[in-house]
Amino acid sequence: MRAEPIQPFTRRLPYGEDFKRNIARRRFIGHIWRYMFFSSLIIGMIALVTLLGTIVNRAFGTIAVQERVNPATLSEQPLEELSQEELLAIAQANLSGNVRRRLDREEPLEQRSAAELLQVIEEFVLQREVVKSWTLSETLFNYSHIEAEAAEQFPNARLEFKSWVSWDFVVRPMSRTPALAGIRTALLGSTWMILITMLIAFPIGVGAAIYLEEYARDNLVNRIIQTNINNLAGVPSIIYGMLGLAIFVRNLEYLTSGRFMGEGMGAANGRTLISAAMTMALLILPLIIINAQEAIRAVPNSLRQASYGLGATKWQTIWNHVLPVALPGILTGTILGMSRAVGETAPLIVIGAATYIVTDPSGPFSSFTALPIQIYNWTSRPQDQFRDIAGAGIVVLLILLLSLNAAAILLRNRFQRSL
């Protein structure tokens, strides 16, 4: 082995002034890239702020409220201060027979609380309705215009500031009147669905990842499986919806409708929470598997060797060392999957989530609706106020999503710290 000396000053590399210019040019190129990256960030921020702004603009604003009947004609005191008995008397005196019979069927008036009776009186006796609504930006910057418009079109109406997002909105069920509609049914539906989805997808996904990383040999069959899992992660969600419709809703109807539990149990058909949850589980399985595989692969081999070196079996090594170290990474993938499942709409539409439903889901075998479906449905209604509650629904969906993520991240950080 003999090293040949290199001839210096062959002028193939720049020196002196040449070199200074060269450095300046390299720096300049670096700066250009830096500003390009910065502007990408700015564009992203603008998009996000616009999105949030539009939602907030819709979810808060001014409303014009009009009542057919003046509350002063019913009682001398304000209705809010009356007791349950007084409200009951007003309701019984003023409701038409038809309406009373219908309400009694849902729940007898006598058994309703004061707040519920007040709502009944507002809806059916006073016939209070929101005749027009204005957005937050109009309220803030152009209030005189709102007043003029209201005075001209609805002389009997009074203007109120309205936050469409409110506790009432969260706990009230669906209604045909936008001002009285709530999101409870959809919120419960989404929560149920995500719980069942995670119960199905997490163990199956992590199990598949463990098998592929720790047990599977590197042969043709396993490589085909691996490739297909990667491809499945990119399949459009509507296709999973079709799959869910064909298999869970139609073929497995006897199981997914809950009829196997006995006559009269469960829903009328397979369009139930369990069908939706299983479809969502299929949808996020590739995501969970791929992320869990990455996490397991990132566990240093020295750790496995240390465990084997002490006479641990394969399973003891996986359970005691590989999984605890990989868990934070596995949970990261699970968080991603969960967020995706909460926000997915297309598969639910195909599966046939109900768009109008007032009864809360009572278990995996009840028909249901979910937040994105409810929001989608509201945005396509003709009345303007449904757009406002759609905005409020989006706020609730975002809050649900962020709190689910926060919970999962807290969980992950706890595991990370304990290492």
């Binding site: 040999r217 590197d218 240093p300 020295s302 750790l303 496995r304 060797q305 240390a306 465990s307 084997y308 070196g309 002490l310 006479g311 641990a312 079996t313 003891q316 005691n320 060392h321 605890p324 170290v325 290492l419």
Partner: protein, 267 residues
Amino acid sequence: MKIMSDPDPSNRNAIETRAMSVYYGAFRAVKEVSFSIESQKITALIGPSGCGKSTVLRSFNRMNDLIPVARTEGEVIFHGQNLYGPDVDAVEVRRRIGMVFQKPNPFPKSIYENIAFGPRINGWKGTKAEMDDLVEQSLRGAALWDEVKDKLKESGLSLSGGQQQRLCIARALAVEPEVILMDEPCSALDPISTLKIEELMFELRRQYTIIIVTHNMQQAARASDYTAFFLMDEDRAGMLVEYGPTDQIFKDPKDERTEQYISGRFG
């Protein structure tokens, strides 16, 4: 199983290999190595990079099994039985023949749990107090007890490199092995930590058989009883060139290549 029988006191050899070859796929990494390792002595395996000495070491406790393409031929005799025989379980082998790795690799758990893990997975039947005792004894055995006795609950990763390596030795001692394999245990350590490990090896020799792979010739010369010198042949397969008492290998090597290597003319 036979290998769980007590060692035969008349047999001076802890491990004996007979024409052992190791293949990685089609590539033969180690070619027909035959030698015997004496009980309760320190045997050093030396040689240039890629000569197969680590592969030989790992074949003693079947760690090569973890590499899917690896295959071993010939015999490795332990307690009169071939470790690669059909009825021998690698898990059992590794309990009797422990291992310390090149880079300290404590588990990301507390110091206590690092020691307790081995006995637990091997079916520990004692009480909590007995486990405390075992942890203390193992740490004392690895000359680490005084440094960590007040922080057993702290992570094993919070220790210095040298302490981590002694923790790994203590961890290996806790499952009561007969042989301890060390794969360049000091290559990631500073000279003072290295010295401590070497002193520890001398202590451990009274009870255990130690086989150590080292790149450091001085370490082999001062810290081992026997030395085996490995070299690659023309096919890049590792082979045993010379084996004997360390004094003889370093002062009066029989083979010309050994002499060249230990005098630093190649490698």
